[in-house]
């Protein structure tokens, strides 16, 4: 009886939505199996952690109050008074960091495996833009608890944005909502974090996922495509994805319970800056690089030069599919070399940032 009812409901929906197309898509979709297949899971992991961010973020929104007077107290209320508020807040903070880490790995694996080759150029471009958006989420979200460290880190971060040639002054005022980091900055960052960035992300993510579905998973040029086996996405790949996601949930739960995300002291704009202000770990290599650049290089302000350097790097990263040539035996693989050097540079500078 129930089966008949479900079937008729299914037919009713099919007539109106055509949802069985998805069923067909799922049945058709498969994933190549080769020695580099492990890297395919990091895209799904990034997406899963993003969905956790959306879920926990919405829950935090129910209690969070975005003003200089109330922000800190509302987060304090969340972690002390709200049932499981501590868990939601800690998971949101830890998951954000794991998501950026997963996105880093996903992006570099796509780079080394040359997944951006024709016709997947736009998949790469949308992915890199999504990565930049994730950093934007991190930067804007860091200020929201309105604690001392976040306040001064935002001050330093927006100061750097203010040094950008030509548009620096505008950018600084645009980000801060005035000359200084104030309650206006907090409101603005809240707006970016919960409205502007999510809107742009939704569009880009939809495009990125659509392109992944359209072109399928890329097989690296180093693998002979004729010898590649295929694995059904549903249920085989999905089952393996689920193992990773459940493991991620276990790690998040352990981190939240054993190392709850610290709240610190409420921001005081009139207090002196605490010693050793450090940005989030994913900005550390850039922050540390700016410290090493001399004040003046050939008459140009060192900080401006550093910003320009990272700006150009970002642009090159986006344009990678249009700049890189086909891999050929016997020729130096410049892309791999640049990728390896970049990873070593990021790791060394990040370590130096924490050790100094």
């Amino acid at each position: 009886m129930n089966k008949i009812r479900l079937e008729s409901l299914g037919n009713w929906l099919e007539e109106r939505l055509g949802w069985r197309a998805l069923e067909e898509l799922a049945a058709k979709k498969d994933v190549p199996q080769h020695r580099h297949s492990i890297w395919y899971y990091f895209g799904g992991m990034t997406l899963f952690l993003f969905m956790i961010q959306v879920g926990t973020g919405i829950m935090l929104l129910l209690y969070y109050r975005p003003s200089a007077e109330n922000a800190f107290e509302s987060v304090q209320f969340i972690v002390t008074e709200v049932e499981f508020g501590w868990l939601i807040r800690s998971v949101h903070s830890w998951s954000a960091n794991l998501m950026v880490a997963a996105a880093f790995i996903h992006m570099f694996s796509a780079l080394f495996l040359r997944s951006f080759r024709r016709p997947r150029e736009l998949t790469w471009v949308s992915g890199v833009l999504l990565f930049f958006l994730a950093l934007g989420f991190g930067f804007s979200g860091y200020l929201l608890p309105w604690n001392k460290l976040a306040f001064f880190a935002t001050k330093v971060g927006t100061d750097i944005a203010g040094a950008v040639p030509f548009i620096g002054d505008f950018l600084l005022r645009f980000l801060r909502g005035g000359e200084e980091v104030t309650g206006a900055t907090l409101t603005r960052f809240f707006g970016f974090h919960v409205a502007v960035l999510p809107a742009i992300t939704t569009v880009l993510l939809a495009l990125h996922l659509y392109l992944v579905q359209k072109h399928g998973m890329s097989v690296p040029p180093s693998v002979d495509e004729a010898e590649v086996k295929r694995m059904k996405f549903v249920p085989d790949f999905l089952l393996r994805d689920l193992v990773g996601w459940l493991a991620a949930v276990a790690v998040l739960a352990a981190l939240a319970a054993i190392f709850p995300w610290e709240l610190g002291e409420k921001a005081d704009p009139f207090a002196p800056a605490p010693e050793g202000i450090k940005p989030e770990w994913y900005f550390m290599f850039m922050f540390q690089s700016l410290k090493y650049i001399p004040a003046k290089v050939a008459g140009i302000d060192g900080e401006i030069l550093g910003i320009l350097f990272f700006g150009v790097l970002g642009a090159l990263l986006i344009a990678t599919p249009f700049l890189s040539s086909e891999e050929r035996r016997g020729r130096t693989d410049w892309l791999r070399l640049i990728g390896v050097v970049s990873i070593i540079y990021i790791l060394v500078l990040t370590a130096l940032g924490y050790l100094s």
Binding site: L246, A250, P260, E262, E265
Partner: protein, 417 residues
């Protein structure tokens, strides 16, 4: 060569006053070594020289003239007001000829004091000096004669951190103090005191030094009656409480100085709860013996203070343990500071010796500590709950992962078959 460099330096440093090339005093004295040359060398950093004053403003004479001994045209002519080295007794009056003139001093510093001389005349130093005692300190004894620095200059002998050493230059000299029959160990004692440690070791210039208690220009040893007036300039609450206590009359009747009886004077040790009670080193047992009311009260107060301190410490330790485990307890920790405040107030209240008032403060302190205890315990319980929750959820997740892996293997086997 050295003289030439010094001359050029002085020329640039001492302009536009007449100390430079136009000054006969400088032109001659810069040629000397030792005592005669030293004034010129030291004037390079003197605050008076920096303001455009020169030798003749204190010593008289006319620096625009040359040296023609015995003539009116001589720079050092008595007829032109030259006084040479001022007599020890007249130094204070000489300095006062400018420093006691409000209309003159105002032109340099609208906030400058002009009462130093009148104060000095009331001081022991001033009285002895006026009586012809050349050993008694006068202005130059502390400030120096040439090379006088602003008292705000950290290298000045009268800058806060240097005052004790400056006073000790005379007061720690047994030979010099012998005629006056006063001790010479004040600096030694002061250096060990809470005030001396704060000022000399920790460079806290808000800590008192000799002149803060004895006065500077009007320096006198505070008498038995006025010791408390000196201490109460900073320790206001303790003094107010002491005035309400039975000790006030008892001390006065026995000729005991109010504060110094328990706290000493130059060697004022940092206070601690050990100072009260009936066990060594408590000061109460200096006068009170077992069986008298003061002995019982001292024991009660000590026990009350120690109990509250122990309670507050225990609550604090519990909250710190919770905080280190990652629990958010900043509000209870802040509230506990109110309990610390009650403890501090109770320690001040000791000076009043009113058991009822003390008991009320202690009770309030215990209530705050009990609340903090409760908050700390709640945080620790929550922590235990989280750990249990983590263990259970991890178990469930591990089982689910195991089931998924089993399913994956099963499908692999099916595909292989």
């Amino acid at each position: 060569m050295w003289h030439l460099i010094l001359s050029l330096f002085l020329l640039s440093a001492l302009q536009p006053g007449p100390v430079g090339s136009r000054s006969t005093c400088v032109r001659c004295h810069q040629e000397f070594d030792g005592n005669l040359g030293e004034p010129v060398q030291r004037m390079a950093q003197d605050i008076h020289a920096a303001k455009g004053l020169s030798c003749h403003h204190c010593h008289g004479g006319d620096p625009t003239l040359g040296i023609e001994t015995g003539s009116m045209a001589d720079a050092k002519s008595r007829a032109r007001g030259f006084i040479g080295r001022p007599a020890n007794r007249s130094i204070a009056a000489l300095c006062a000829s400018c420093h006691s003139k409000p209309e003159y001093m105002r032109t340099y510093n609208p906030q400058a004091r002009v009462d130093q001389h009148s104060e000095y005349l009331t001081s022991v130093h001033g009285k002895k000096n006026q009586a012809g005692d050349t050993q008694a300190a006068t202005c130059t004894s502390c400030h120096g004669a040439h090379g006088v620095l602003s008292s705000k200059n950290p290298t000045s002998p009268v800058y806060a951190t240097n005052v004790a050493q400056t006073c000790a230059a005379c007061h720690a000299d047994p030979e010099r103090m012998k005629p006056y029959g006063i001790p010479t160990n004040q600096l030694e004692l002061y250096k060990k005191s809470v005030h001396g440690i704060a000022l000399i070791e920790k460079r806290d210039i808000s800590a008192p030094t000799c002149n803060d208690c004895h006065g500077n220009h009007g320096a006198v040893p505070p008498g038995v009656d006025s010791v408390a007036n000196v201490c109460s300039q900073c320790h206001v609450s303790q003094w107010d409480q002491f005035n309400l206590s039975p000790h006030r009359e008892a001390f006065a009747a026995n000729g005991f100085p109010a504060c110094a009886t328990c706290h000493e004077h130059h060697e004022i040790a940092p206070t601690s709860d050990d100072m009260i009670g009936v066990e060594d080193p408590a000061v109460c047992i200096t006068c009170h013996a077992e069986g008298d009311a003061g002995y019982v009260a001292a024991k009660g107060m000590k026990d009350g203070i120690v109990r509250l301190k122990t309670h507050l410490d225990a609550a604090h330790d519990l909250l710190v343990r919770a905080e280190r485990a990652g629990m958010e307890v900043s509000r209870p920790i802040y509230s506990l500071s109110e309990g610390r405040d009650r403890l501090v107030r109770a320690r001040v209240e000791i000076h009043r010796l009113d058991e009822a008032v003390l008991a009320k403060l202690l009770e309030e302190g215990h209530a705050i500590a009990a609340q903090a205890d409760q908050d700390g315990q709640k945080a620790m319980d929550e922590l235990a709950f989280r750990r249990k929750g983590l263990a259970i959820s991890s178990g469930i997740l591990v089982v689910m992962i195991g089931l998924l892996i089993a399913k994956i293997r099963q499908r692999k086997t099916e595909a292989a078959e």
